[in-house]
Each structure stands twice: as C-alpha cells, then as structure tokens.
C-alpha cells in the first residue's frame, strides 16, 4: 500500500495548526467477526480560526473521526491508530485524566440532536454551570452569573429564567444554542460540530450557522464542521475534505471544490443538490446505488461500484496498487484515477448555487 507523503496544509494561514490528524485509523473488531475499518488513514489539520468541513454520506466515518479525536470512542472492541495532535501534543494514548481535562476546556463538541444531548432531568442552568465548575475555579454565584452571560451571548432571551428551565421546555434552536453555550463555556481552541443543524428547521439552521460563525470562527477558534449538507459547507467552511468509506477522497478549498469537483463522488454530491438557477423539469442526478455498495480500499476504489467514470484500473488487481491520495493542483488533493475533467460546464451546482 503506497502512502503518499503530503505537506500539511492549513498552517499557511496563521502558523501552527491547532489540530493535526495524521493517518488516523479506527477499526471496530469483535471476536469472531470481520473487523470494520470505519476510518482508514485520514489526515488533515485545522489552523486557528479556520473552518474545516468533513463531508460525506452517513456511514462514511466522519462522526467516528470526530469521536476518535475527542477520545470518546469506547475502549473495548475499538482500535485507534495513527496520530492526533492538539497543539503539538499527542492525544492518542494520552491518559483518561488528561483527556478529560482537555475536553470542554481546550476542545469541545456540539452534537447532532440537541434534545437527546441534554439531560432531561436536570435544569439547563445546572448543566451549564457544571462545565464551569469542572474546568474553571468558580464560586456558585460566579458560575451562575457566567452561565447567564453565556446564554445571553448565544442569543437566548431572558437567560436568567431559562437557566431554571428543563430541556423539554426549550425549542430546538434554543437547545442547540444552550449546547453551544456549554461547549464555548471555557473558550476552547477547537470546536467540533457534528451535524449541528441536521435536527433543526431551515430558518433555525441559518441562525445556528450564523452563531457559529460569529462566536467560533471570528474569535479565532478552530472549527471542524461535520456535515452532509453542502449548503452548510458553502456557507461556513474554508477547506473541505470529502470522505468516502473511511478515507478522504478529495480535499480542496470551498470555492475550488464547488467550481471544479474532481472526484466523481464529489461531482455526484453537488449534482444531487437542487438548483434554483437550473432549468425547470431537469431531473436531479442522484448518485446511484447506496453507501453500502463499497469494495474494500485494498481491492480498489471504494466508490468504483457507483462511479460513472470507473474503469478497470480502479481495481487494485489491474492497476497493481491501491488508489492513492495525490496532489491535484495547488491546495487540492484527490484520490481518483479517472477524475472529472475541465474545462467543461460543471456537472452540478456551483458554490453560489448550493449555498442556502
């Protein structure tokens, strides 16, 4: 298996990256079962103030990647390999204690479903102050004041009263705001948002994204945005990594990616987004098959079974090597032997078209 050494990107903006993920692998292995490679050699880095998107369909390994970075995967039956460095410090193999102290203080995470991510039996206020007690030496009164300030900052009206309420009394958007307040309570340097808008209405989605942009991106916090929503990518991300079957198959800046998707999968994703500026009656182009139709990366390109450009040498036995992730022009990487070629009219949406 050839691994192509690539220069780390992202640190060209503000120097040293906050997060460096290097050849991360996550393998789920149960006794007597075929091990599953959920994440299979993923590398990327995030600089302060940068927003990096991890994009892909359900089951492509993006959430597992985020849990591996946070050290939240269960111990049993899971093997994590490679390297995850936060500010130069290796996180894989760090003690539980170290990791626990870092979580919430240095790096935080916002999850997909704001209702189930909040404890239904505990008032919002307690859940916010709890984080403050854990990581910042604070008296009870200071913590309550700080919690009020935090809720106010994320745009929750009447925060002092909301603190006493229970999660089921808040609207979906409010809950996600509260969770963001909790994540930002200790001003972390890295925030991982795992599909933070998926469970929300469209108007609320826009508000939450705007909030993230305001509070995270503009304050210099590094943001890893995990999503399958290309609208979110278009609106927020600087750099995008498209994942498929546990590997990154294309990396590019947002504008490049939307203007000239190279991987047929990326092209397919963009083509499946409805466009306002397209002619009416033109059918959408879904990617055929489903994410289950994969072949192992060791035997060829995992996307080949669903790919329109697939040819014989997409298989390892024909080409003699697995498909490598290679440099593809400035700031771009691509894992494909038969990419979409340009100039030609883009198969799908452009950045402006897919943006909300």
């Amino acid at each position: 298996m050839t691994i192509v050494e690539l220069p780390p990107h992202g640190d060209d903006r503000t120097g040293r990256p906050v997060l460096e993920v290097d050849e991360l692998t996550v393998t789920f292995a149960r006794k007597g079962e075929q091990p599953t490679h959920a994440v299979d050699g993923v590398s990327f880095s995030v600089a302060p103030g940068e927003t990096v998107g991890l994009v892909g369909e359900s089951g492509c390994g993006k959430s597992v990647t985020s849990l591996a970075i946070m050290g939240l995967l269960p111990r049993r039956g899971v093997q994590v390999g490679g390297s995850v460095r936060f500010d130069g410090h290796e996180l894989l193999g760090a003690s539980d204690r170290t990791l626990r102290r870092m979580r919430g203080a240095d790096m935080a995470m916002v999850f997909q479903d704001p209702l189930s991510s909040l404890n239904p039996t505990v008032p919002i206020g307690t859940q916010v102050t709890e984080v403050l007690f854990e990581h910042r030496e604070m008296s009870r009164k200071e913590a309550v004041d700080e919690a009020t300030r935090l809720l106010d900052r994320v745009g929750i009206p009447d925060p002092a009263r909301r603190l006493k309420e229970y999660p089921h009394q808040l609207s979906g958007g409010m809950r996600q705001r509260a969770l963001i307040a909790m994540a930002l309570a200790c001003s972390p340097r890295l925030l991982i948002a795992d599909e933070p808008t998926t469970a929300l209405d469209v108007t609320i989605q826009a508000q939450i994204l705007e909030l993230l942009r305001e509070l995270v991106v503009d304050s210099g916090t590094a943001l890893v945005m995990i999503t399958h929503d290309l609208g979110v990518v278009a609106g927020l991300c600087d750099r995008v990594h498209v994942m498929y079957a546990g590997r990154i198959i294309e990396s590019a800046d947002r504008h490049d990616l939307f203007a000239r998707p190279r991987q047929p999968y990326t092209g397919g994703l963009l083509a499946s987004v409805p466009r306002l500026d397209g002619a009416r009656g033109v059918p959408l182009h879904p990617i055929r098959g489903s994410a289950r139709d994969v072949i192992p990366w060791t035997e060829g390109c995992a996307f080949a079974p669903r790919c329109d450009n697939a040819q014989d040498d997409c298989l390892t036995e024909v080409a003699g090597s697995t498909v490598p992730l290679e440099l593809d022009g400035p700031g771009r990487e691509l894992r494909c032997r038969h990419p979409l070629e340009y100039p030609r009219s883009p198969a799908g949406a452009t950045a402006s078209g897919a943006a909300r």
């Binding site: 626990r100 935080a108 239904p120 505990v122 709890e130 854990e134 009447d158 009263r161 229970y166």
Partner: protein
C-alpha cells in the same frame, strides 16, 4: 413617513419582546412535577393513593381508632369448642378464638404489617441500588462479580430464602424484615444496573463526557437520576409483595413471636384452624392484605405510566 415607520417598528419590537418572555411562575417545570401533575389526573392513581393513605392513617392512629384493646379477651363464656361468637353489639366483626376483638386486632395489626412491608422494601431498595450503581457505574469485572452474586440470590426461590434467613437469624421482627429485604435486593440491583447501562450510552452522557465532566459527576448527576424511575415504580409494587410475603412468613409461623403485636399474617395463620366454624376470621385479614397490596400496585402502575417518557405531555 419614517417617523410613522419608526413607531410601527418599535411596537413590533415591543410585542416580540413580550412574546419571548415566559409567563411568571411557569419557569422550571421538572419531570417530577409534571409526572405528579399527570398522576393527579389519573383516577387509577387516585384510587391507589386513597387506599394507601387510608391504611397509613389507620396504622398511624391505630391506638386511637381501635374500639377495644386488641389483647383483652371478651365473651369467654360463649367460646366453646365448635362455636366462636360472630358480630354483635360492640364487636362489629366478632371476636377470635381467644375472645379478642377482631376489628381492633385488624386496626392495630396494620401497623406491624405495613411497617414490615415498608422497612423491608426500603432496605431492599437501598442495598439493591448500591449493588446496581456499583455494577452500572463501573462495569467490567465489578459488574461481573456483582451480577453473578445477584444471579445466585435470584436463583433461590424467594420464599425459600426468606424462610432460611429468618430461621438463621432467629425469630424476631427484624429477622423478618431482613429476610424479606434480601429477596428484594436482586430485583432492584438488576433493574438499576440495566437502566443505568442504557442511560450510560445515551447522547447526553456522551455530550457530558465531551465537555470533560468527571465520571462520578456523570454517574450521580446524570445517569442515576435518569435511571431511577423504574426503581421507584418497582419499589411501590414491591411494597405489595413485601406485605404479602410478611403475611406468608407469619402464616408459616416464622413471624414475630411477640404475641402483644397483632399482625395480619399471623391472624390468618391462626384462623386456619377455625376456618369451618368462623371463616370471617381468615377472610378479614386476607381482605386487608389484598386491599393494601392492590392500593400499592395501582399506585405503582400509574406511577410507571406517569414517569414513562412515552406518555409525556
């Protein structure tokens, strides 16, 4: 025109600000509170609660309520082999084979029966929960050891174990309580462990871990409170079983040897010799046991419904 627009704008903002506010006194309705609200509207719950409260009141004020002394023997002249006097003026339910007023004995006996039920259930809940928390919070080998121990307890038939324990500990009311409590322990341990395991993998527990909350705080502040509702329900239902079991042990002659304390089970046991002459002697204590058990069961079942998230709102 702009001035006009400004006024409108301000009015809209005012209204919006008001709409965003929560009305006074509405803030912070906890799940417990809303469960109680639902409970109050449920006629089954009310029935159960009325029965339970009634019996608790009777037990609490038993000496005041009992019309006669439960130990004094009356009408001895009328008690002969083959005849026990039935109800009459002053003895609404009649007397037992020794001439003691049945009603007074039932009233005073409620104390002992309820006490044994409540204390043994409490004991069972506390010990069972301690084991359940241990297993549910730590997992791994702690879980294995605790759960195998519980399995062993569970594999012995409850009544058999209660009998063995009360024989081992000697005949007194504390032995009876401990014996019944031990049979309750495995149920609570398993229940709490199972519900904690389910909650431990919940999203909010993961979210709390992602915020670096320490494990003890996650277990006691997040997982445990969310795992309690099945235990509370089971405790209510177990109260009924405990009272029946106490009666059963007394019936078998393993109850309280202190004859100065009347108890329903003992009364029932005592009555079996006179079943053909005066079945009322057995019927009334049995009825008391059934009604109290029913009351606790109704209350427990409706509590389960009220706490069930599926019925929320």
């Amino acid at each position: 025109m702009t001035a006009m627009g400004d006024v409108k704008r301000r009015r809209i903002d005012e209204l919006a600000a008001r709409a965003g506010q929560v009305p006074e006194g509405e803030g912070g309705v906890s799940l417990t509170k809303s469960a109680f609200r639902r409970l109050r509207r449920n006629p089954v719950a009310i029935t159960g609660a009325v029965i339970v409260v009634l019996f608790l009141l009777v037990a609490a004020f038993a000496p005041l309520l009992a019309p006669k002394d439960p130990l004094t023997q009356y009408l001895l002249s009328e008690i002969r082999p083959g005849t026990i006097p039935g109800s009459r003026e002053g003895f609404p339910l009649g007397v037992d084979n020794l001439g003691r007023d049945l009603l007074s004995r039932l009233i005073v006996g409620s104390r002992q029966s309820l006490l044994i039920g409540v204390v043994s259930t409490l004991l069972g809940v506390v010990v069972g929960m301690a084991l359940g928390v241990l297993a549910g919070a730590f997992g791994g080998w702690v879980d294995t050891v605790v759960m195998r121990f519980v399995d062993i307890l569970l594999s012995i038939p409850g009544l058999l174990m209660a009998i063995s324990i009360s024989v081992l500990l000697g005949q007194n009311q504390y032995a009876l309580m401990i014996a019944i409590a031990v049979t309750q322990v495995p149920v609570f341990a398993r229940l709490l462990r199972g519900s904690m395991l389910a909650q431990r993998d919940s999203d909010y527990a993961l979210a709390a871990r992602a915020l670096g909350i320490r494990r003890s705080r996650i277990v006691f502040g997040h997982v445990l409170p969310n795992s309690l509702s099945p235990v509370i329900v089971q405790a209510t239902l177990s109260l009924a079983t405990a009272i029946i079991e106490a009666a059963a042990l007394s019936f078998l002659g393993l109850g309280d040897p202190d004859l100065a304390r009347p108890e329903w089970g003992a009364m029932l046991s005592n009555a079996q010799a006179f079943l053909s002459i005066r079945p009322e002697l057995a019927v009334y204590p049995a009825l008391c046991i059934i009604v109290v058990a029913l009351g606790f069961t109704l209350l427990g079942e409706s509590l389960r419904e009220a706490l069930d998230p599926k019925f929320r709102r």
